[in-house]
């Protein structure tokens, strides 16, 4: 029992130390790659709150990242704000956007919600293209340049804060309510958990976190345009969340590394041409789903023998209407 209680904090501390010391050994270029992993860490964490813990599938988290990214870009470019100062604004706009997208989740769940959020992911870049005066249109907007170390530090500080926030949120009363909504909406409602409040708040918090991820993302890219937030981004975040393991905070790091480093590693290994990378990436995703459908967290849990407890990973009720 004591082993199980100690293992979590130890792993967390060791991981944090490794992440903190890593930039010392990295080149400037690899530091911004590390920053990108941090961005995906936050985005996958965000998706995990709403999909993994509250059971509301979202294929549209790239859209919330776009909200944050454009907030940062417009505020720094047009209004001369400091890069960090734009992040609270991104959180506010992301939260509002998430509450709005969360509203349909009150009426329908499962596959309909998947399609709605998928459509959001495709629609948001189109809207950005349509108002060039505001967003820079297809050409996009430039952002202030920062060093690799600055980006790495910012990304992982944001990631650390998000992780602690998510951990505190999910272990307490709210997290319990989220999980109750996920496991049985009817049981949750009869126990006095308000479905409308918790679904929209879950979407709001998740979207706010994704928006911060978007802010850092555009800073890492040094540039924002509708294509930065193309559908592929949303798909990659979902893939990262599932590969890492839904309903687990530990898998998030694995998922983030998977989606950022696998394509990069394939390209730089020199064995395959960059044209072939999506083909291999898609094939790996399918293979992971066939072999480890519950993700890395499940694999880790079994390897470390976290007791004979039942798998905590949820089956998101896709297609079945709630219940």
């Amino acid at each position: 029992m004591s082993r199980r209680r100690l293992l979590g904090p130890i792993v967390a501390v060791v991981t944090a130390v490794v992440i903190a010391l890593l930039p010392l050994t990295l080149s400037n270029y690899h530091r911004s790659t590390g920053a990108a992993v941090g961005v995906f860490f936050v985005a996958i964490l965000a998706l995990n709150i709403v999909t993994g813990y509250t059971g509301q599938i979202s294929i549209g988290h790239g859209a919330f990242m776009a909200v944050g990214g454009y907030t940062t870009a417009i505020l720094t470019h047009d209004h001369g704000w400091n890069s960090i100062a734009t992040m609270p604004a991104a959180i506010v706009f992301g939260f509002i956007a998430g509450m709005i997208v969360g509203l349909p989740a009150l009426r329908f769940s499962g596959v309909y919600l998947a399609l709605t959020t998928f459509a959001v992911a495709l629609a948001v870049p189109q809207i950005a293209k349509n108002y060039p005066d505001f967003t820079g249109g297809t050409e996009g907007l430039p952002l202030p340049t920062h060093s690799g170390l600055w980006l790495y530090t910012t990304a992982w500080v944001v990631a650390g804060i998000s992780f602690v926030f998510a951990w505190l949120l999910l272990r307490g009363r709210t997290g319990r309510a989220f999980r109750a909504v996920r496991d049985s909406e009817i049981a949750a409602a009869s126990s006095g958990v308000s479905l409308p409040v918790h679904k929209t708040v879950s979407f709001g918090i998740s979207a706010a976190m994704a928006a911060v991820a978007g802010s850092v993302y555009v800073l890492v890219n040094n540039f924002v345009s509708p294509d930065v937030f193309a559908l592929q981004l949303s798909l990659f975040i979902l893939i990262g969340a599932v590969v890492g393991g839904l309903g687990s905070l530990w898998g998030v790091l694995v998922g983030a590394a998977f989606i950022e480093l696998l394509p990069l590693g394939l390209t730089s290994s020199g064995f395959v041409s960059s044209q072939l990378v999506p083909v291999i990436f898609g094939a790996v995703v399918i293979a992971v789903m066939a072999l480890v459908p519950l993700g890395a967290a499940d694999l880790l849990r079994r390897a470390l023998q976290f007791g004979p407890q039942k798998s905590q990973s949820p089956e998101v009720p896709l297609g079945t209407e709630g219940t």
Partner: protein, 324 residues
């Protein structure tokens, strides 16, 4: 269930009113008539893809996100065959045959191993993986440059009472509707179709009477790919869509919206939904000045959302009672 009975008249009434409005508009203005026809042609393309989605959804309750990418791949195959010197229609037929084998094989290789162990979500993720894989394969084999598909019909304009119809539009409508119709005949009147429906509705019971349920699923994927190929080739022939790896992304969303409007389980609903979306978007695009081509996709999304908020099960969906 009582709620359903009392609102059953709404959908047919709305449809009739819509048709009447279109007819009156078309009689009064020839531009309106032309836009309606080309909207119907777009709708026909969406319909083929939407029915493909419904086909797979009915069998496994899974939305196949790779449907558009598979359609793109088969369209490139058609382009390649024509480029090698085959005439259009032989290439068309060969492509349909290829699409069937391709869809069948993809189900066998990519989906079946996942389905055996995972939940529906894992199958959805696998289909997203398939989307990335197939779209990547198109880029790898044929490159990301835009290609031009020869038009299947010589440019010709029919004139009826001052209204010009392009042969292309009429043929697109006809071929799309015909392919859906053939599929309907297959499901309704053949023993194979009966077996496929049985496997979709009651897999266990179907297995007990000797139907090979898993083969029926592969077959469903094959047929869905054929419909997708029809949609892809019709789309590539239309002047507004260029042959490139991402060409079906937008069309897939319209097909999603159409399938959802129709209730996801009804092929007829998907066809009507697709035609409605095609016409609505075309009319919005040409008569509402602030709706630019970029905003058509968000407009389709809003349309879908409004219908879902009013009628969550779609226009033709079953209202299911839930057991607690």
């Amino acid at each position: 269930m009582t709620a359903r009975r009392s609102t059953a008249w709404i959908v047919p009434t709305l449809l009739l009113a819509g048709c009447a409005a279109l007819l009156i508009g078309s009689l009064r203005s020839s531009l309106f008539a032309q836009q309606t026809i080309s909207g119907l042609a777009n709708g026909g393309i969406y319909a083929s893809l939407a029915v493909a989605l419904v086909l797979i959804y009915r069998a496994t309750e899974v939305i196949n996100f790779a449907q558009g990418a598979i359609a793109t791949f088969t369209t490139y195959v058609a382009w390649q065959l024509i480029d090698w010197g085959l005439a259009y229609w032989p290439a068309f037929i060969c492509t349909l045959a290829f699409a069937f084998a391709f869809g069948f094989a993809l189900e066998l290789v990519a989906i079946r191993p996942v389905e055996r162990r995972g939940s529906q979500l894992t199958v959805v993720i696998a289909s997203i993986g398939l989307l990335i894989l197939v779209e990547g394969a198109v880029g790898y084999i044929w490159g990301n440059d835009i290609r031009f598909m020869p038009a299947p019909f010589p440019a010709h304009i029919y004139r009826i009472g001052g209204v010009a119809f392009s042969r292309q539009d009429i043929a697109t409508i006809a071929i799309s509707i015909a392919s859906v119709g053939v599929l309907w005949l297959l499901f309704r009147f053949t023993k194979l179709g009966l077996a496929m429906r049985a496997a979709a509705v009651r897999p266990e019971a179907a297995r007990l009477v000797g139907i090979r349920v898993s083969w029926m699923l592969s077959l469903g994927w094959g047929l869905a790919a054929v419909l997708g190929a029809v949609a892809g080739m019709m789309a590539a022939a239309s002047p507004s869509v260029l042959l490139q790896p991402s060409m079906m992304d937008g069309i897939l969303i319209y097909a999603f919206a159409a399938a959802v409007l129709g209730g996801l389980e009804s092929a007829l609903g998907a066809v009507i939904g697709a035609l409605a979306i095609g016409v609505t978007l075309n009319l919005l695009g040409s008569y509402v000045s602030w709706i630019t081509p970029q905003l058509l996709l968000p407009a389709a999304f809003v349309l879908m959302l409004v219908v879902l908020l009013v009628k969550p099960s779609g226009l033709f969906g079953r209202t299911t009672a839930r057991r607690v």
